[in-house]
Amino acid sequence: MTELLRISHTMNMDWRYGTSWYFAKFIRALQDKRLILGLRCPVCRRVYLPPRPVCGNCYAEMREWVEVKDIGTVLAATVVHVPIIDPLTGQPRPAPYGMALIQLDGADTTINFYLAENDAAKLHIGMRVRAVWREQRTGTLSDIVHFKEVSS
C-alpha cells in the first residue's frame, strides 16, 4: 500500500483593507488625540463601538459622533491559557492573558479587550479599568496596549 503524504504550504499574502471614512475618523482620533469616538443612533440613541454607518436595531444611518471615555466597567472577564495564533503576526500570543468585555463610560455597547491582569482570582465583574496607551501610536486599535484596573 502506498504511504499517505501531507504536503505543507506556508503562504505570505498582502492585503490592503479600505477603512471607509467612519473607521478612518475613529482611528485618526485614536492616534492623534488618544480619543475614542463612538456613533449615536438617531432613533434608539444607543452609542456604538466600533463605529459603523448603520444601527442594526433601527436600520438608521448614524452621523452623530460622541466622545467615549477611556475608562469603563468590566461586564465579563476571563483568563485565556492557550496560545492562540495572533492574526497580526502569525505567531502564538503568549498566554496566559486576561480578556474582558468592557463598557466604556459613554458607550452602550461593550468592547472585548486585553487586560493587564492575568490572574483569574483578581478579576471580577464590575471592576473599573482604564486604557493603557502606547507612547508611539501607529493608527490601529493596538494603540491601546490593554486595560488596567483603576486603583480606588
Binding site: 503562504m11 472577564a77 492562540i84
Partner: protein, 384 residues
C-alpha cells in the same frame, strides 16, 4: 409550497484527521451513503447544495472541485458559507429548492477538513480593522460570555461538566462520532486542562474531519421512496448584530435562538417544548452553551437550566433526550456540523439511529449556531 421530507442520510466516520480521504472523497462517501439510504442513485438527484467554510482549509472555490464528489456534473450546484450555521443554512436552502417546485430531489452535503488548516487563525480572520487586534480565539470569546452567564444564572462548572459527560457517553453509541470516551466522568472534565476560565478542554468541542449528506424529496416522491420520511415542518433563521459587544449579555439573552424557536413552535403548534418535542439535536460548541440554549429554547424557565441537567431530563432516558449523537461536543467538522444536526434528527424519526435511537420519536428539533450568535431552528416530524 410543497411538503418536503428527508428520505436518506449519510455520514463519514468523523475523526481528528482523515489522511486517507481528501475533501472530495469525504463528500463522495457521505453522498453515496445518503443516496443508498434513500434508495436512489445519483441520476435521481436534480440539484445539490454544499456547505463548507473554505478559509479553514485555505482552498478557494471548493465547490468546483468537490461538486463532482456530490454528483454535480451537469447539475445545478451552489455552496453556502455562514460560519457555524453553514450546515443548517444549506439544509434550509435545499428545502427551499425542493418546496418551491423547482426540483423534486435535492442533495445537501456539508464537510470540513480541519486537519488541513489552522482553525483558530481562520476564525480570527474576521474584521481586519477591529477583531484581529483583540483576538482570543473562539474559546476566549465563549469564556467571556460564560463568565456573565455563570454570574447571573448561578450555573456551576459541575453542571456544565455533566453536559460534557452526557455528550461523550452518547457519542460512544454513535459509530460516526469523532470523540470516543465511554469512561468519561465529571471529575475528568473538571481536571482537564483549563483553556480559558472557566472552560476546560473537555468542555469544548473538538475540530474534526468529516462530511454529512441528506436527501430531500417532495410530496408523493418522498412517500413512495420512504416508509417513514422525516417531514420538514418549520425552519426559521435569525441573524444579529456583527460584534461580540453589540449584544447585551449575549449568551444569556440569545435573542436569535429565542426568537427563532418561538416562531418555529408557533408554526407547528408547540406550546410545551420540553414535553411535545421527542428528541433534540442542538448545536452546542461548549458545554455551558447547551445549558444557556435550554433556556433560550424554552425547555425550562430562566435560571433553571442547571436543574434540567441535574435531574436527567435531557439524558437518553429523560423526557427530552438532547444530542443522542453526542452533539458538536463530540464531532465538529464545521461545514458539516449543522447538516449532522438535521440528519441525526431525521434519523431519529426514520428509526435509523441504531444504538443511539430514542423510542417513539414523532417530533424532532435541530438547531444551528454561528458567528456571534446567529441561529437556525428546524423542526421535523413523522407527520406530514
Amino acid at each position: 409550497m410543497r411538503r418536503v421530507a428527508i428520505i436518506g442520510t449519510g455520514q463519514t466516520k468523523h475523526a481528528k484527521s482523515h489522511d486517507d480521504m481528501n475533501q472530495a472523497e469525504l463528500v463522495r462517501q457521505a453522498a453515496t451513503r445518503a443516496l443508498a439510504d434513500a434508495g436512489i442513485t445519483y441520476r435521481d438527484v436534480d440539484a445539490i447544495v454544499l456547505s463548507n467554510m473554505e478559509l479553514f482549509e485555505g482552498r478557494a472555490l471548493p465547490e468546483m472541485w468537490v461538486g463532482e464528489g456530490a454528483s454535480g456534473y451537469l447539475k445545478p450546484v451552489m455552496k453556502i458559507a455562514t460560519g457555524g450555521t453553514s450546515g443548517t443554512s444549506a439544509c434550509i436552502a435545499g428545502l427551499h429548492q425542493c418546496a418551491s417546485g423547482l426540483f423534486d430531489t435535492v442533495l445537501v452535503v456539508g464537510w470540513e477538513k480541519h486537519s488541513e488548516g489552522a482553525t483558530q487563525t481562520g476564525m480570527a480572520l474576521t474584521d481586519p480593522l477591529w477583531d484581529r487586534n483583540i483576538a482570543s480565539g473562539a474559546v476566549g470569546n465563549f469564556a467571556l460570555s460564560i463568565s456573565q452567564y455563570m454570574a447571573e444564572r448561578g450555573v456551576t462548572p459541575e453542571q456544565a461538566a455533566k453536559v460534557a459527560v452526557k455528550a461523550r457517553r452518547n457519542a460512544a453509541k454513535n459509530p460516526h462520532a469523532h470523540l470516543q470516551m465511554p469512561d468519561i466522568t465529571v471529575d475528568r472534565v473538571l481536571s482537564s486542562r483549563m483553556l480559558a476560565d472557566p472552560v476546560h478542554l473537555l468542555d469544548m468541542c473538538p475540530q474534526s474531519d468529516g462530511a454529512c449528506a441528506l436527501v430531500y424529496a417532495a410530496e408523493d416522491r418522498a412517500e413512495s421512496l420512504c416508509a417513514r420520511p422525516a417531514w420538514v415542518r418549520a425552519t426559521v433563521t435569525r441573524h444579529d448584530q456583527p460584534y461580540i459587544g453589540d449584544l447585551d449579555r449575549r449568551l444569556l439573552t440569545m435573542r436569535t435562538l429565542r426568537d427563532a424557536a418561538r416562531k418555529a413552535y408557533q408554526q407547528v403548534g408547540i406550546t410545551d417544548p420540553l414535553n411535545q418535542i421527542d428528541v433534540a439535536e442542538i448545536y452546542e460548541p461548549v458545554s455551558y452553551a447547551e445549558l444557556a440554549w435550554y433556556e433560550a429554547l424554552g425547555l425550562c424557565a430562566e435560571g433553571e437550566a442547571g436543574k434540567l441537567i441535574d435531574d436527567g431530563s435531557t439524558e437518553m432516558n429523560g423526557v427530552l433526550p438532547v444530542n443522542p449523537s453526542g452533539g458538536v461536543l463530540s464531532t465538529n467538522p464545521v461545514g458539516a456540523s449543522g447538516v449532522i444536526r438535521v440528519a441525526e434528527a431525521a434519523m431519529q424519526i426514520m428509526v435509523r439511529a441504531g444504538a443511539h435511537q430514542v423510542a417513539n420519536v414523532r417530533t424532532a428539533l435541530a438547531t444551528g449556531y454561528g458567528v456571534y450568535a446567529w441561529s437556525d431552528v428546524i423542526i421535523l416530524s413523522a407527520d406530514k
